[in-house]
Amino acid sequence: MAHTAPAPDRLNDFVIKLANVNGTGSASANALVMKAIFRMGIPVMGKNYFPSNIQGLPTWYEIRVTRDGYVARSGRLDLMVAMNQETYPKDVREVSAGGYLIYDSTWPRSTLLTREDITIIGVPLAKICNENFVGVRNRILMKNVCYAGVLCALLDIELDVIRQLLAETFAKKQALVDSNMKAVQLGYDYAKQHLECPLPIRVSRMDRTAGHVMIDGNTAAGLGCVYAGATVGAWYPITPSTSLMDAFKGFCARLRVDQETGNNNYAVLQAEDELSAIGMVLGASWNGARAFTPTSGPGISLMNEFIGLAYYAEIPAVIFDIQRVGPSTGMPTRTQQGDILSCAYASHGDTRHVLLFPANPEECFYLTVTAFDLADRLQTPVFVLSDLDIGMNDWMCPELKWDDAYRPDRGKILGKEEIEKLTKFHRYLDRDDDCIPYRTLPGVSPKGAYFTRGSGHNQYGGYTEDSEEYQIVLDRLKRKFLRAAAMVPNALIEGPGDREVGLVAVGSTDGAACEAMHILARRGVEVDYMRIRAFPFGKDVEAFLAAHRTIFVIEQNRDAQLRSLLTLETGVEKSRLRSILHYSGLSISSQVIVDGVMAELGEGRRPSVTVVRK
């Protein structure tokens, strides 16, 4: 869909999209372009829209060059590189008016697919590559690298930066560096000779990326697991969480091998299914290791019974849910925030769970460490609700920092001496009156032994079917959960806090929400913004909700799950919460939010307290 015309000054502020066929090596070419812009000191955002397939289906890569450092999609599109014949008609339509489209002109395209309001640029990429490279596979791969060269010429991307990146990527394989650089140069030279370079949309060196990295959330979370001291990881492969365990394993292979013996200070167990994966995590955590499992929605569904056991028997566990599009198998390679409710109340019976919502890879790292500390301290499962957008896309983030003074908070675990001082050990007795009992580990002392069970138990750890004994434990669990609200990460609030309208978001919608707030301000609509980072909701969340007459809850699911959770778990009046919902599978853009807010409030309309927009 065409959007507004490009603003006059598009220097370091535009969006490119690359339409490819998956399995052709396009992802590396696109990452090369994005990284080059990043290395030129210009903030970038990259999103990979890929199919649940190995080879042959359409895939897109979106690069937003954003001098202001925004991290979300803007909703517009200035330059399309249309390399996929199959999606060409759709790709042509998507370019914003005044934009550009590059296509492979080796073969003619139907004139029916041209547009008057955009500039169409033909480059005979296949022809160039066929003339200069040998072998079918190589020619296909190099075609992508070749358009990277064309983009360098059209957008003013520095070739030296490309050369340096290729040298880093192919470190010891000079032949690959040379052939890739040759393809870049061919594209670059063709563009310089035949096209008007550069385009009005172009880049120019800045210094806004120093001290930053480009990293995906799953890698950052995997690294977080290393730094949290996790030693057991159990999992069943599922998109889009797989790369989290891959990252953990990769880091461990480098950092966790005992120098003297060559043996591993970790175990990664690939389970037969998610039921087994969570069972392993509970077994390991119960036995005193820090353990975790990465999964996605379908895995959470399978894990439910065990999650209830962990809640009731008070066993720590860290569960990463890298959310994807549901319901059912849904669209495995598209993003959504559709598991908020199923995680918050996972399992049958009365259960409520601690959720953490990282908004970017940086938080994936830090909140992972927090998740392990909270799980140990509270003796309960803690969910880290990331999503495909955060987990699998490279985001520009401030460099991660580490405090060497950090030590894991292992919570209330009694050592041998402490156990032996006791008259008798009672697993579920609230000795400290803080709703958290003490636990013991196997192998320490026979006096610390107890029987862990998901069946009815009393505060002494014994089996019970006695109503009162059962309720004592269940009520304490409720109080423990409520107390967790003061222990989880606080919400982040922007704005003075006294504006009439508030925006509320979680997780990866943060970038779009922040940008929307700025755009709205420019249009004269001043709003406050709160990003919730955890459940149970703290007093700060209650206060923000209470202080705003109209609140837009922005989330990426159909059924307004965060809004539901807020109405269930806070005192807010339901009527004050409007929804801005986006659940297409592509990450939300700031445009969607601006449109949603303006539709309610714009053009002189006052906030209404009766209309609920779902």
């Binding site: 087994s276 065990f306 998901g454």
Partner: protein, 351 residues
């Protein structure tokens, strides 16, 4: 069923093991199973075995799922941690627990419903992983707690108490384990403690996954005429092929045996198993022959018992993962991450 607590009084002359502990020190809570339940005999056999092996109670970890059999982990070794998980998923909990601390003894007690129906996947994969644990399947062919439905191990033609006949093929845990690469596979009968106790000892000392399928009749729902898992039927169709005596390290072999009948097998810790072949042509170190022998006898309706198969050549889970000797729950935090300086180095790749 009994609700009385066990008296704590102990006779001063009770025999003591090398740790100075009596059998009473290895007991647990009072059983709530039906009087005459085969499972209680298995529990008693476990107590005898761990007492005689001199395992410290706290060095033992007891795991189970859901069902009558899974209740029994509460009835022995009250000085050991127990984990009664969800139905059919004990193997994964055991796997995780074992991953966290390789230095303890793990004993899982399950049943035919828990292992062969709802938990068949986990059972199979724990065998494949060769998790270092003893896994006892108390097999009675019936669901007891839900009052008498067939389980997956019910034989074709076996009848319920109400006369309903089972028409589906049974799952035989021993044949399954043989085909899945099990490294220690045994079958026994709760009515034969002389055979069972040494098998429990050997299974606990075996490095890897040790399965003992114990036919353990359900006196309430599956001990009638027409059942193939009753006491009477089992006694009649019970064919010990190889009995195993467990000899701890440094202990003299003093049993009497006729030449050619006994083969000693060395265990990883220096202990030995004396295999007494009751079927002369049986070879418990040959997977294929063992499989064929069992299948042939099964056709005749015979339960072959004893140490069916043993192999010391398969790496257990920690060996496959090449984990350090220190239990993973005890590796010092300093060894687990490279600190701020290391992080800076790692991030260079992402700049």
């Amino acid at each position: 069923m009994s609700f009385i607590n066990k008296p704590k009084v102990r006779h001063p002359d009770l025999p003591r093991n090398e740790l100075g502990l009596t059998r009473r020190d290895y007991e647990g809570g009072m059983s709530t199973l039906c009087a005459g339940c085969g499972h209680d005999t298995v529990t008693a056999s476990i107590i005898e075995a761990i007492w005689d092996l001199g395992i410290r109670p706290e060095q033992l970890v007891k795991l189970s799922g859901i069902g009558c059999s899974s209740k029994t982990t509460a009835y022995f070794a009250s000085g050991a941690h127990g984990f009664n998980g969800v139905h059919g998923r004990m193997p994964s909990v055991a796997t995780g627990a074992n991953a966290a601390n390789k230095n303890l003894y793990y004993i899982g007690v399950s049943g035919d419903g828990d292992s062969l129906s709802i938990g068949f996947g986990q059972f199979a994969h724990a065998i494949r992983r060769n998790v270092n644990m003893l896994y006892i399947c108390e097999n009675n062919g019936v669901y007891g707690l839900t009052k008498g439905q067939f389980s997956a191990s019910a034989d074709i033609g076996s009848k319920t108490k109400k006369g309903e006949e089972n028409l589906q093929a049974p799952v035989d845990p021993v044949l399954a384990a043989l085909s899945l690469g099990g490294s220690f596979i045994a079958r026994s009968f709760s009515g034969d403690r002389a055979q069972l106790i040494p098998l429990i000892k050997a299974g606990l000392m075996h490095k890897g996954f040790a399965l003992i399928d114990v036919i353990s009749p359900c006196v309430t729902f599956n001990d009638h005429e027409g059942s193939t898992k009753s006491y009477a039927y089992t006694r009649e169709h019970y064919e010990p092929a190889v009995n195993a005596d467990y000899i701890p390290p440094q202990r003299e072999i003093y049993v009497d045996y006729a030449e050619g009948e006994v083969a000693p097998v060395e265990m990883h810790d220096g202990s030995r198993l004396l295999l007494r072949k009751l079927a002369p042509d049986y070879d418990p170190t040959h997977r294929g022959k063992a499989f064929n022998y069992l299948r042939d006898r099964l056709r005749e309706g015979e339960h072959v018992t004893g140490l069916i198969y043993i192999s010391h050549n398969r790496p257990e889970m920690h060996e496959m993962n090449a984990t350090v000797d220190v239990p993973l729950n005890a590796v010092p935090y300093e060894k687990l991450q490279p600190g701020a300086a290391g992080l800076e180095k790692i991030l260079k790749r992402y700049a």
